[in-house]
Structure formats: structure tokens, C-alpha cells
């Protein structure tokens, strides 16, 4: 009791600073970092920093002592040390110009495997799938790097291979759900074995490598991610009875072979490219005749009522329909559209895709094919147009997928001003702002048909907008009702007070009963708020502030939209009058 603390018990002993941890593990800072990345160890924020810091308030990073003890048993630590020694020996041999020993040392270069780390970090396969987002984004980024020495060429190749395998798996399992073209890149969301996996792929451009990025850190992450990703791919291929490493289906392979044999010197070189073309299906371990749609058996489960069952069935049906969105459609990609993304997306929903033979390997049919239904073009006009196909812009594909239905192609014809591309990841709660386009899409999904004629459409738009505004206003009212009403009431009161001094011939005062009740309730609430405890009042004020802020933001967006619509309408009218 009392006395100065000697920090020999309690929280001071549970934490260790980074430098001490490093010394304990006898590793350099870089190696310590690598180890932490590989093993997934992160710092901890102690509750009482000063106590843990032994009375000092200097900013320090703390790790749990348990974590560091755990790291001490890691075999990789030994490998790190071995590598350090290896480098030292090699340097010495170089310095002495002992080339034989250089060679010998290089042969015995210590290396390590991360299999056990992966198994330990992700004890079950589902765990691994859950944590796949970052791995995917990272590998997709690394696979787009040029071989400029920012990282090992092998890493780039491995990343490319793994991402191609992943895309092939997604195509075969048809598990893609949502796609979003953002200014950063393309977001994909897939549902793999019940887990939603989201990843971001940059647009196909050369990167200008920033100088303030530590590529060693990124490379270490990638090292871990590629290992994880490979194992995940293996397992996923196994679940679909596919051969791993992936092989093209025999039939399609023969189809492709004939044409491109002469173009590529090495078969091994072209194989990955053929795979990455995504136009052919993969070989299976067991040569089943066709894909069997697994029928879900219906078990009469007790306790689950019929409605739930039906809802589930409906959902299942919807999902199946979504998977077959582009089935029976034949697409042709013009050369200016992002081929890989579109081919991947279209193939995921059952379409047939092809492109110009000179554009990329793996095209299956020509432009002249009469059975092509959609030609995807991203330029204002095309010279030669075929009659029996739609020429649409690529956004149509993405919007259709997100909308889970084939959208009317009219809005996406060549040279047409495209409708906004909305994020499929936004789920509006009530009170949030919903852009009118989204409302329209939702109406389309529900099966309401838009009016075809333009003028009517315009009118309807106006009406719709008005409706929207009204709705918004209503929502606002709901939010702000009490306060507003209170204010008005008080104003009225004040006026009444002032005016009540005058003696005027009596008038019948009509009392609005509902209004009175509301007033009463509002006042009750305000009085109750006055009696709140300080702590609760603070919390309450904070919550209300947040609520009001969201309302304010929604209102701002709505106002902006209104102003924009009015401006554009005015322009239209001007044009009309000019004509």
C-alpha cells in the first residue's frame, strides 16, 4: 500500500516496448518488422500508458509480452539469423574473390517456407477466405507492375499466375456478385463459399512509382499473401473438381491451339496468357459430362416456418437467375475497352466473349460473326455497323450486373450521355440520401416500366423529383418535427402573450387537438431533457448532433441535385426555344 510503484507487477509486466522486443529476439528492426508482418503481430495500446511506460510519458509502441514470447518460438527467426550470416559470408567471399565459395554459398542459400505460418494464422479455410480481401488487392496490384526492379520478377509472375487462377475460379464457380467502376480502379465483390470477398484492381496503366513508399514492406506482405493465396486457390480448385494448376479444357485447348501455334515461340509462355484470356473453360479432374446444378434438397425442418423457407427459396432463385444473366448472349469487345475486366465479368455471368484476333490471344470468333448480340464499344461512333447487334458502352454490362437484370440498352448506345454509374455497395438506410437514379433502378427491378415517350418521361421525371423532394421533406420533418413545431409554438405563444393584453371582441379560438397534444408532448420531452444527468446529456447531445449532421448532409445533396436539375432543364428549354 502506498509508496512509489516499482512496476514489477500489473500492466507494466504485460507489455514490452518495441525496442526491447527487438533486442529480446535479437533481430534487426527490418527483420523484426518482417516477422511481425508475417506472423500478424500488431502493437497494443495499453489502458494506462504511463504505468506501462514506467512513469514516463514518452510516446512508445508497445507489444504484448505474450506475443513476443510467441514469436521467440518461431523457426523463421532462426532462418532470419541464418540469412544474415549467409549474407556476411557471401560478402566476405566476394571481397576475397573466392568465386568457388561464392557459388557454393549461393547453392546453400537459406530459404524459408510460410506454410506453417499460414496454417497457424488461419486455422480453418473459412478464416483464410475471410481475410482474403487485402491479399487479392495486393496481388492484383503487384501483377500489374512492370519488371523495373521495384520487386523481384518472380514475385510479379507469381502474382499474375495466382490472380489468373483466381479469376478462372470465379468464372467457373460464377460467384461474382457486384462490380463497381471507381476512379481508383475496378472493385469486384464475389461470394466464395458464403464469404463476401471484395478486391480492387487498378486500371491497366503503367505505375509511376512513388518515392515515399517502402517497397520492402509491401514485398513482405506480398510474400505472405502469395503463399496464402496459392493455398486458397488450390483448395478452391479442389472444391470444384478442377485440376490445379489450372489446365484448359481439352476441347477448347484444341480450338485455340490451331490458330496461335505459330505466334508464340514457347508453349509455356502462351499457356498463362491463354488462361488469362478467360475465354475457355477449365479442365476438370473427373470428366463429368456437363455442369450439374446441384439441387437443394428440401428438408422439412421443424421450427422453421413456411414463409422463411419460401423466402429462402426465392432468394436462391434470384441468385440463380443473376448467375445466368448473360447466358445465351454473345459479346464482342472492341479493342479500346478494358478487355480483361469485361471478359472476366461477362464470362462470370455465362456470356460468350470474343475480341479481335490481333488484340489478344484467345479470341474465339470474329467480328463478322452474325450471332453476336452485343458489341461493346467505347468510342463515339463505329464505321461499319452490323444490323443484328446492339452497340453498347461498357457501363451497360456493369450496371446490368449490379442491377441483377438486363437494363434497357437505349441509355447506353454509342455517343449517348451515360446515366450515372452508382455504387452497388451503398445500402441506404432511411434518412439517407438516395439519388433519383437509384430510385429509378429500384423501380425497374420491381418491374415498373418507364414510359417510353420522351416528353412524358420528362414530365414524369419532374413528378418523380417532386415526389422525391416531398419524401425528403417528410423525412426531414420527421427528424426536425419536434424542434420546429416547438419553435413555432413558442413564437405563437410569445405573440399571443403580446397580443393578449389588447381587449378585442372575442373570437372563437379553434383548438387543434392533435397539435395541442403534440405541443404538450414536445414540452414534456424538453422538460425531461432538462433533468438529464450530465453524462447522459452529453451522450444524448452527441447522438442528436450526429443525427442532425446526417440529415444536413442528405439535405445538402438533395439541394445540390435540385439546383443541377433546374440548371440543366433551363438549358434544355433554351435549346428548344432556339430551335
Amino acid at each position: 500500500l502506498g509508496g512509489p510503484e516499482n512496476y514489477e507487477s500489473g500492466s507494466a509486466t504485460n507489455y514490452i516496448t518495441r525496442n526491447k522486443a527487438r533486442k529480446k529476439l535479437q533481430l534487426s528492426l527490418a527483420d523484426f518488422r518482417r516477422l511481425c508482418i508475417l506472423k500478424g503481430i500488431y502493437p497494443h495500446e495499453p489502458k494506462h500508458k504511463k504505468k506501462v511506460n514506467k512513469g514516463s510519458t514518452a510516446p512508445r509502441t508497445f507489444y504484448l509480452l505474450k506475443d513476443i514470447r510467441f514469436l521467440m518460438h518461431e523457426p523463421i527467426v532462426g532462418k532470419f539469423r541464418e540469412y544474415k550470416i549467409f549474407v556476411r559470408k557471401l560478402r566476405k567471399a566476394y571481397g576475397k574473390a573466392e568465386w568457388t565459395s561464392v557459388g557454393r554459398l549461393k547453392e546453400n542459400k537459406p530459404s524459408y517456407k510460410l506454410d506453417h505460418v499460414i496454417k497457424e494464422r488461419y486455422p480453418s479455410f473459412v478464416d483464410a477466405l475471410r481475410d482474403l480481401d487485402d491479399a487479392l488487392s495486393m496481388c492484383f496490384l503487384f501483377s500489374t507492375f512492370a519488371r523495373t526492379g521495384k520487386c523481384h520478377v518472380q514475385t510479379i509472375q507469381l502474382c499474375r499466375r495466382l490472380t489468373v487462377e483466381w479469376m478462372n475460379y470465379i468464372v467457373t464457380s460464377r460467384s461474382l456478385r457486384k462490380v463497381f467502376l471507381s476512379i481508383k480502379g475496378i472493385y469486384y465483390q464475389a461470394e466464395v463459399l458464403g464469404q463476401t470477398v471484395t478486391w480492387l484492381v487498378p486500371y491497366q496503366f503503367a505505375h509511376d512509382h512513388p518515392t515515399d513508399v517502402d517497397y520492402r514492406v509491401m514485398a513482405t506482405f506480398t510474400e505472405m499473401y502469395t503463399t496464402l493465396f496459392g493455398f486458397v486457390n488450390f483448395r478452391l480448385y479442389q472444391t470444384l473438381n478442377l485440376v490445379y494448376p489450372p489446365k484448359l479444357d481439352c476441347r477448347s485447348e484444341v480450338d485455340l491451339k490451331g490458330e496461335f501455334e505459330e505466334d508464340y515461340a514457347m508453349d509455356s509462355e502462351s499457356y498463362l496468357e491463354k488462361l488469362s484470356a478467360l475465354s475457355a473453360s477449365l479442365a476438370r479432374v473427373l470428366n463429368t459430362a456437363e455442369e450439374e446444378e446441384a439441387q437443394i434438397d428440401q428438408f422439412p425442418v421443424e421450427g422453421v416456418d413456411l414463409e422463411q423457407m419460401e423466402a429462402r427459396e426465392r432468394e436462391q432463385k434470384d441468385q440463380d437467375a443473376h448467375k445466368r444473366l448473360f447466358e445465351d448472349l454473345k459479346f464482342f469487345l472492341n479493342r479500346e475497352v478494358p478487355r480483361e475486366s469485361l471478359a472476366f465479368v461477362l464470362r462470370c455471368f455465362g456470356a460468350q466473349v470474343s475480341w479481335d484476333k490481333s488484340h489478344c490471344i484467345g479470341s474465339t470468333y470474329d467480328v463478322t460473326d452474325e450471332t453476336i448480340t452485343h458489341h461493346i464499344v467505347d468510342r463515339p461512333s463505329v464505321d461499319k455497323q452490323y444490323i443484328n447487334r446492339y452497340y453498347v458502352q461498357p457501363q451497360w454490362v456493369y450496371d446490368s450486373i449490379n442491377c441483377k437484370m438486363l437494363l434497357p440498352v437505349e441509355d447506353y448506345f454509342l455517343g449517348v450521355n451515360l446515366p450515372p454509374h452508382l455504387s452497388p455497395f451503398v445500402e441506404e438506410k432511411d434518412g439517407d440520401y438516395v439519388p433519383p437514379e437509384k430510385l429509378k433502378l429500384m423501380a425497374l427491378q420491381r418491374g415498373e416500366k418507364p414510359v417510353a415517350e420522351q416528353e412524358e418521361e420528362e414530365e414524369e421525371e419532374e413528378e418523380e423529383e417532386e415526389d422525391d423532394e416531398e419524401e425528403e421533406e417528410e423525412m426531414d420533418e420527421e427528424e426536425m418535427k419536434e424542434e420546429e413545431s416547438l419553435k413555432t409554438i413558442e413564437k405563437q405563444r410569445a405573440q399571443n402573450k403580446v397580443s393578449s393584453v389588447k381587449v378585442t371582441p372575442g373570437k372563437m379560438k379553434t383548438e387543434n387537438k392533435v397539435r395541442m397534444e403534440q405541443e404538450e408532448k414536445a414540452e414534456e420531452k424538453r422538460l425531461a431533457i432538462m433533468m438529464m444527468k450530465k453524462k447522459e446529456k452529453y451522450l444524448y447531445d452527441k447522438i442528436m448532433f450526429g443525427k442532425k449532421r446526417t440529415v444536413r448532409e442528405a439535405n445538402k445533396l438533395a439541394a445540390k441535385r435540385k439546383a443541377h436539375d433546374e440548371a440543366s432543364k433551363g438549358e434544355k428549354r433554351k435549346k428548344k426555344t432556339k430551335q
Binding site: Y42, H44, N108, D133, S137, M138, P202, H421, P436
Partner: protein, 696 residues
């Protein structure tokens, strides 16, 4: 010389083959002066030629005398090398008439050139060889290039070898071929060392053997045969999961993009010019969006995102550098936070609406008081008047001009006495307003006048005087002249004692208690305990409450001792009221608080209410109803239900029931005093706007 000392950049170009040299010399030789032997000429012009050769790049000097043909090369006619200035920029001689010096040291003059532009043009049009005429910088003369020279220039321009006859792609003949020859290349006998075992090698082998023996050199490791990827989760063993896995906090996933990140967002998500400017001026950490929303008309126009690698890297840093914590986010419904109070409706009666305004004062009304019968109201104002109002009608019955800003008025609580104490400047006046029951009025007058002077006059801190004449007619009955300005007067409930507050920090005469019937004054305190704000008598028992800035002291008047010291937990008490039961006290303070003390409970406040937005000026309890009110500078009067139970175990119930507004705020002052009607649930308030208002 020429062979060795050719300038390095030209050497491979012009002399790819020994034979080329002859060619070049043939072109230089004609410049050497005739009559000299070739060898001497070459040796003489050693450095010269070297420089000359380097000036060959522009081909001007070299291709001057192209007419000499191959057979003539055998005949070495040596011309003099005319200019000796060497390899210098010839524009140094631009402004001189000469271009250099010959071997004898004489100036070489520039050829007279008086061609103007026109001549030049004519020359260009007429002379068919104009295109192959170049100017020799060394001499300034025009030289016509021969066909061979032109050809050479062409070839050099195309990057070919100067010599036509040189074959670049001649088949390469190996000196040592792969075919075994029958004859040895050399016929040298073998060395002895080739058939004697080498000692050095033996040593080396011995060292290696030793190193292997000692384990210094490790044999090559066998190749790892396990495939790179396999089914890692083939046997999922739930027992193998480490305990620490339960403690693991998975990293939160990246935020999913909203509409504003789209390449073609709805127009409302794009930033306006001002917003863009604001975004750019913000620190990158403070920005709500890490990017500027942009709209592109088609997918083809979308550029690469310049911060892609950065963002990925930042995510990596977050993953391994950020401490992770599980934050329990409780989803609180704000409605649940509001305490459940009894409905004000069930706590009626209490004043709800303003029903009367008493107008007449021209300045702020500092104080008001109600007669114990509940029929009359007295108000004292800064305009120096005291007005008496009939409560029911709002009529001003009487106005008494006292000649000083009235700080405090108090109606005698004894219903059988009709006296009003008025404090202004340094004096307190007891007025008989002559309102109400005549008997009471006359009885009061009698009571006052029946005073008999005691035999021995005692020295008193206050001078008592009974006014006569005009003042008597106006209602003045007694004058009490204090040494200092009086701030507050208050009656004891019996109506005989009167307490006055003359606030003064150092003095011990801050509180004086007067006995009206005996015209006697007492000073209860010997020592000052701070600036006294207000005082109050206990309604039933002989206690006396004194509020200083931060404390309320409760004195027992009989025992003459301090019985309690209440800590108000506020900066500056402004007003105080004692519950008619006597066990509860409320204090209003200038820092917007109203504190409720339960004297039985503790010396700390039982409850602190922060309802008002500005300083409290007056507080009051109702005599019968469980109500109390507080008036504040924000112009509002808040009426609260304050139920005190007889049961000691039950704490008082405090519920705000009504916020009454009506007073206009003038000079940052709102309500200055509040008081309740003695029998009705009505509350009066006086304000800085010169009005008194009745709320019923």
C-alpha cells in the same frame, strides 16, 4: 603519327580497316607542301594533322581536294598546310580580316566576299553545283565537293562505313575451330608441371577435405520435393487452434466505396468550386474524402489513380503498425436516455400562462413582494418609486416616491400588521400602505406609535426615526438610517424582526436584525465571514440563514452558534429561499445553477439544476404548494415541482414543470425577482423591462 593519334571518336568510324588510312592520307597529302619528303611532312605536321583529322567531322576540311585519284597517291606532292591556328573555333576570327597564319607566320587573309543575299540567291539558282559547295572554315574559301566526297558524306550520314569496299558482315573465321586438327597449333614440348601432380592443388584439396570434415563446408542440400501449394487445410484439427487465436482481433476490412467514388457519379456528388478549394486547403489527414470526385464521360477517358500504390501501402502500414482494439459500440436509442419523469399534467396545479402584466415602472423592477392576504403586490424599482398593485385587477393603487433606487421590498408576513419594508440607498423605510382592512391599518399605526422610549438610551448602529407631516401622510412610519447601503430586507415570519443586509467585505456589520416593536437593533455577528449576499429567517424555528459567496451558513439564534455550513458548489450565490417546512433550501447562483439542499441529508447539494442559460437572479418557494421558481437573466422563469415528503427516507422529488417566458431582455438582464402568491399557485416575476408579470 596519324595512325596512333587519331582522335578517339573518329577512329573506329573512319579507320575501321588499315586500308582506310591510306584513303584518308591520300586526301590529306595534297595539302602538304610540295618539295618535302612525305615522311618529313607527316612528321612535321604531326600535331597538326591530328587536329585536322578531328576536324573532319564536318567533312569540310577533309573533302576539299577530292579530285586526287588513287594512282596519284604514290606520288607524294606535299602542299603546305596553310593555316596553323589549329583546332580552334573559327568564329574567334570572325571580326578579323584574316583567318590565321601560315607556316611562315604570315596572316592568311579571308577571301574577299562581297556577295550579298541577292548574289547568294542568284548563285543558288544559277550554279548547278551550289548544293555541293561548302565553305572551308580554315581558309574561308568555297570548295566544291567531288562525287566521291559527296558519296562519302552520304554514307556517313546513313551511318555506314566510309569505305565502299569494307564488308561489315564478312563471315568470321575462328582462329581455333571446333574441328580437331591433325596438327598441333604449336610444336612446343609439354611443360614438366603438366605431368607432375600439383602441390598447390593438393593443398587446396586438402583444405577442402579438412573443411568438409570439420563441417565448415556443407554439402548441397537436397531439393525440396514437396509441391509449392497443396491442400493446407486437409485436416482441420480444432485442437490445433492456438488459444491466442481467440484473442486475435482481425483487421477491419477496407471501407467500401460510395457513389462519389464512381467514375461517372450523379452530379450532386461532384464538388463545387468552393468545396474543391476548401478540399485542397485542408490537410490530407482532415479530409473527409481522400480523393476529388470526378466525372468522366466514358470509361476510355478514366486515367490511372495516382495514389493507388500509396493507398495500398498505407493499408499495409495500418495492418502491421496500428494497435487494434475491440470497441464496444452500444447502439443507444436516444429516447431511452431521457429520464422517465412524472407528467407535468399530473403535478398540477402550477402556473402555465401569463395572465397579467403590471406596467408603470420606468426602470428595472428590483424586487417584489406580496401581502400575506394575497390581495396586494408591492414592487420597488430603480426609478425610485414603490408601487402598490391590486393583484386581481392589475391596478396601481398607490405610488410612493422614496427618492432612491429601491433595492428590496418586503411585506410583513404577519397578516395583522400592514407594514412594508423598503430598502433604498442607506436607509430602510417601513411604510404603511393603508391598503386593505382599515382596522388592520389603524392597528398597525397604533402599534408603531405606541412605542415608548426606554429610560436609558442605548447606542445603536442604526438611527431610528419616526417621520411626521408630509412623509407620514405618504405612509412612512419609521426610518432606519444605516451606515451603509442596504441591499436586502427580510421579515421574520412573526413580523416583529427585520433583517437587513449591508454587504461590505471587511465589515462585521453586514447583517443587522431590527426589532420593530422595541425599535432595537442587534448586530448578530462579531466577525465577517465574507461578503454576505442574502439572509433569511427559518420559517418556524430560531434559525438564521446567511448566504455568502459560496456558502450558506445556518446559525442557531438561541444558542448563538453556527449549526451548519452548506457548500453551494457554485461560484457566486445570488439568491436563496427557504422551504416553508424549513428543512430544504434552494440557492440560485450567477453561474446558471440552482442548488437544492436537504438540510437533513448533507451539507452538499442534494441536486444541482442547470436549466437556465444565464445567471439566476431570484428563487422562491411556494408557501403551500410543492412548487419553486427561479428567474434568470435569459428572461425565463422556470417553475419546478419540488415535493418534500414527511418521510425522512424519501428524498425530495424535483420535476421541472413549466418554462415561462415573457420578460424582454434589456441591458442583458431578464427576470430580477420572482415570488409566489401566498395562497394561489401563481407566480409573479419582475423584470428589467420595467414590468411585473403574473403567471397563473
Amino acid at each position: 603519327n596519324l595512325l596512333d593519334g587519331t582522335s578517339p571518336n573518329l577512329a573506329p568510324f573512319l579507320f575501321p580497316h588499315p586500308r582506310r588510312f591510306l584513303d584518308i592520307t591520300s586526301q590529306i597529302i595534297p595539302k602538304i607542301r610540295p618539295g618535302m619528303s612525305s615522311a618529313s611532312a607527316v612528321s612535321q605536321s604531326g600535331g597538326e594533322g591530328q587536329r585536322r583529322a578531328s576536324s573532319l567531322t564536318d567533312c569540310e576540311g577533309l573533302l576539299r581536294e577530292g579530285s586526287s585519284s588513287w594512282p596519284s597517291r604514290a606520288f607524294f606532292i606535299l602542299q603546305d598546310i596553310r593555316n596553323t591556328v589549329g583546332n580552334i573555333p573559327m568564329e574567334w576570327y570572325q571580326d578579323y580580316p584574316h583567318v590565321g597564319y601560315d607556316l611562315d607566320g604570315k596572316k592568311i587573309f579571308k577571301p574577299i566576299r562581297n556577295k550579298d543575299e541577292l548574289d547568294e540567291f542568284l548563285d543558288k539558282m544559277d550554279n548547278p553545283d551550289y548544293w555541293r559547295t561548302v565553305r572551308d572554315k580554315m581558309t574561308g574559301a568555297d570548295v566544291r565537293l567531288s562525287d566521291e566526297q559527296v558519296d562519302l558524306v552520304h554514307r556517313l550520314q546513313r551511318g555506314q562505313f566510309g569505305d565502299i569496299n569494307f564488308k561489315e558482315y564478312e563471315p568470321y573465321i575462328d582462329f581455333f575451330s571446333s574441328e580437331t586438327m591433325i596438327h598441333p597449333v604449336t610444336n612446343r614440348p609439354q611443360d614438366k608441371r603438366s605431368f607432375i601432380p600439383s602441390l598447390i592443388e593438393k593443398q587446396k584439396v586438402g583444405k577442402l577435405v579438412h573443411a568438409i570434415k570439420m563441417g565448415w563446408i556443407k554439402p548441397r542440400k537436397p531439393r525440396d520435393t514437396t509441391p509449392q501449394y497443396y491442400d493446407l487445410w486437409a485436416q482441420e484439427d480444432p485442437n490445433a487452434i492456438l488459444g491466442r487465436h481467440k484473442m486475435h482481433v482481425p483487421a477491419p476490412k477496407m471501407r467500401l466505396p460510395g457513389h462519389e467514388e464512381s467514375y461517372n457519379p450523379p452530379p450532386e456528388y461532384l464538388l463545387s468550386e468552393e468545396e474543391k478549394l476548401a478540399w485542397e486547403q485542408q490537410d490530407p489527414e482532415d479530409r473527409k474524402l481522400s480523393f476529388l470526385p470526378q466525372r468522366f464521360s466514358c470509361l476510355r477517358a478514366v486515367p490511372a489513380f495516382s495514389r493507388f500504390i500509396h493507398e495500398r501501402f498505407e493499408r499495409c502500414l495500418d495492418l502491421y503498425l496500428c494497435p487494434r482494439q475491440r470497441k464496444m459500440r452500444v447502439n443507444v436509442n436516444p429516447e431511452d436516455l431521457i429520464p422517465k419523469m412524472p407528467k407535468p399534467k399530473d403535478l398540477q396545479p402550477f402556473p402555465t400562462t401569463q395572465s397579467l402584466v403590471y406596467r408603470g415602472h420606468t426602470s428595472l423592477v428590483r424586487s417584489i413582494s406580496v401581502s400575506p392576504t394575497g390581495q396586494w403586490l408591492v414592487s420597488g424599482s430603480d426609478d425610485g418609486t414603490v408601487r402598490f398593485w391590486e393583484i386581481g385587477t392589475g391596478r396601481c393603487m398607490k405610488t410612493v416616491d422614496v427618492g432612491g433606487a429601491v433595492k428590496s421590498v418586503a411585506w410583513n408576513p404577519n397578516p395583522s400588521i400592514c407594514l412594508v419594508a423598503v430598502a433604498f440607498n442607506e436607509s430602510v423605510v417601513l411604510l404603511n400602505p393603508a391598503l386593505g382592512d382599515r382596522l388592520v391599518v389603524s392597528a398597525t399605526d397604533q402599534l408603531v406609535s405606541s412605542y415608548e422610549e426606554p429610560e436609558e438610551a442605548r447606542e445603536q448602529p442604526v438611527q431610528w426615526a419616526a417621520p411626521a407631516g408630509k412623509e407620514h401622510d405618504a405612509g412612512h412610519r419609521l426610518h432606519l438610517a444605516h451606515p451603509k447601503a442596504v441591499r436586502q430586507v427580510t421579515w421574520h415570519s412573526k413580523g416583529d424582526y427585520l433583517a437587513c443586509v449591508t454587504p461590505d467585505g471587511g465589515s462585521h456589520q453586514q447583517v443587522l436584525i431590527h426589532q420593530v416593536s422595541k425599535r432595537r437593533t442587534q448586530n448578530p455577528f462579531r466577525r465577517s465571514k465574507g461578503l454576505v449576499q442574502c439572509v433569511s429567517f427559518h420559517p418556524t424555528r430560531p434559525f438564521f440563514f446567511v448566504a455568502t459567496q459560496r456558502h450558506v451558513r445556518v446559525y442557531n439564534l438561541i444558542k448563538q452558534e453556527l449549526s451548519k455550513k452548506l457548500q453551494a458548489n457554485c461560484k457566486w450565490i445570488s439568491s436563496m429561499a427557504v422551504h416553508p417546512g424549513g428543512d430544504n433550501v434552494i440557492c440560485g447562483s450567477y453561474d446558471c445553477r440552482l442548488t437544492w439542499f436537504d438540510l437533513d441529508l448533507a451539507t452538499k447539494p442534494y441536486k444541482v439544476l442547470r436549466h437556465h442559460k444565464k445567471a439566476l437572479r431570484g428563487v422562491a418557494y411556494h408557501k403551500h404548494y410543492p412548487l419553486f421558481a427561479s428567474g434568470s437573466d435569459d428572461g425565463s422563469v422556470i417553475v419546478c415541482h419540488g415535493m418534500v415528503y414527511n418521510d425522512l427516507l424519501q428524498n425530495p422529488l424535483i420535476v421541472p414543470v413549466k418554462v415561462l417566458k415573457g420578460h424582454a431582455i434589456t441591458h442583458d438582464l431578464g427576470v430580477l425577482d420572482v415570488t409566489f402568491h401566498p395562497s394561489q399557485p401563481w407566480v409573479f416575476s419582475s423584470g428589467a423591462d420595467g414590468t411585473v408579470r403574473l403567471f397563473t
